[in-house]
Symmetry: C2
Subunit: 325 residues, 2 copies
């Protein structure tokens, strides 16, 4: 039978021992780690079965890797460098050792992929399976980015396709067999990647005025990025400029595509604003560094969001995934 | 109806804004905080309804304060100074706004009591109510303590009564009306205090060889403190030296008292070892600084635990609270 000692031993065996930046190693009451920067970045993110994920669609390895990616994405949104993470696990009765082995394999894959160390965790019995991942990063050169720094006239950019993850999840729910194109979209849902490298690059640019990651939907997270309505900041996006999957792809109707792109979550692309005067230089820098960015709109003083599609302007409601109780 | 925006607004309203050591304030993707020490201490701890707590016995304020205390206790066990915390909340359907208000009142009380800042959190729907609290502290003067540093001959100490919390919980389950003495014991269960001041004092002593906090039971945590059986380290405790509640107190039988003291958890007292040669000096320092400590035994090379009671030696099994699935 699985108990907490099994997990303790597994972690001690499979995760790195003491290192220069992590002198205690795993297994004490708390972890001691070293960070050279005096500014530390912290975030936490939970994944609950039946709310955030469905085990029919994710392997335990994917679940763990995904939970880590989602949490690290918040550090990327600040332009910070990921360094450490912890995992609090809430496990239902009859969780098997095999499941735990595979879950920690996923975390190990995450450690390698993102070059981060597991520094602690916790395990509890619970009704439903849940993971709470806390992440610690560092600020480089004393520079980090926040939401809420944009000014009227700034240009709005994203780092990649919007809506794919949401469409991917829909495909998983609807079908059993997939084309190659569909599989690519599905992988955006199953295996999102935190945008570490481009996040670090963007975090150092003094003319980048605000940044967020798209977790709950483009329109909702754009509203968060612009700040409260009282700031009077609004934005206009151009549909044709938003990077998205080939919309002729069946079985995606045009309406569904709009909903997925505007309100679908789970993309973990970065959304940010750049001073207009520096846009040309910015795009040149991105090209030179091989970073893909897409200009999708601009900040205005309307306090509202609008979308231009086919030359027609429509009102855009900030909608997306919201926890209600 | 309660949704995540309500909680976001509540936190923004009730918790401190930006400060010198927390320049981003609450509400961004991640928190940026400053710590002068280059060594940072991190831990996380979860509380799940039906596993760790019962809402018949704790108010929402007590639940939050307790969850924070329990998590901070791990920093105290390292001799570190608590600075920041985050709370991930897992909330069942129909959680009320009043419950959330009271829960955050408890966290606010904790902020004041421990002089720590809330730097982030997360909220998710879930089957069962659960809280995952992550805590960040700093190492002072480059000194911190770990488990597993004791040597044969070292003396074993605790900082206060053992078994009270477990007896308190039993009383809550058995009775409805309590004597003053019983109320005191119950408060040890309901409102444990992380041992911040004495933890910091102990953390600076070079002759303190190992430290842990008692969360799952004296015998189990003593075994953890001594390290694996392969270390060959064992210990002998003397029953009469262990600080505990007045055992004549009804309805506590002698056997129940032994079980509570040896295997009962939730006390959050510190358990540590001191080099024998320095014990006298150590006890003098404690007296001078008004810190209460109790010598309860010593480390030997037997690889096992024993208890001397009334002059008779008995074998002591490392038992306590263990999560099984």
């Amino acid at each position: 039978m699985l108990d907490e000692f099994y997990i303790e031993e597994l972690v001690k065996k499979k995760f790195p021992l003491k290192s220069a930046s992590f002198p205690t190693g795993i297994g004490d009451d708390a972890a001691v780690f070293k960070i050279k920067s005096d500014k530390i970045v912290f975030s936490c993110d939970s994944q609950v079965e039946g709310v955030h994920f469905d085990l029919r669609f994710l392997t335990p390895e994917q679940l763990a890797f995904r939970a880590l990616s989602v949490a690290l994405s918040d550090l990327c949104a600040m332009g910070a460098k990921p360094r450490f993470f912890s995992n609090s696990l809430f496990l239902p009765r009859k969780t098997s050792k095999v499941f735990i082995d595979r879950l920690f394999k996923g975390f190990r894959n995450g450690c390698k992929y993102y070059d981060v160390d597991l520094i602690g965790g916790n395990v509890s019995k619970s009704e439903s399976l849940a993971l709470d991942v806390s992440v610690v990063g560092e600020v480089l050169n004393d520079r980090f980015k926040e939401r809420n720094g944009s000014r009227v006239g700034d240009l709005i950019y994203v780092t990649g396709n919007i809506g794919d993850a949401s469409l991917g999840l829909d495909l998983l729910k609807e079908k059993k067999r997939f084309t190659l194109k569909e599989k690519l979209i599905i992988s955006k849902y199953k295996s999102p990647r935190a945008k570490v490298e481009i996040g670090l690059f963007l975090g150092q640019l003094e003319f980048l005025t605000s940044m967020i990651d798209i977790t709950d939907g483009l329109s909702l997270d754009l509203r968060r990025l612009l700040g409260p309505i009282s700031s009077r900041r609004g934005a206009t996006l151009t549909w044709e400029d938003i990077p998205k999957t080939d919309c002729t792809l069946p079985p995606v109707s045009q309406n569904k595509l709009i909903t997925s792109v505007m309100n679908g979550g789970d993309d973990y692309e970065l959304l940010f604003t750049i001073k207009k005067k520096r846009a040309k230089h910015f795009e040149y820098l991105c090209k030179r560094n091989n970073f893909k960015v897409f200009r999708i709109g601009s900040v205005n003083s309307s306090a509202t969001l609008s979308l231009i599609k086919g030359g027609r302007v429509r009102n855009l409601k900030p909608q997306g995934f919201v926890h209600k109780f």
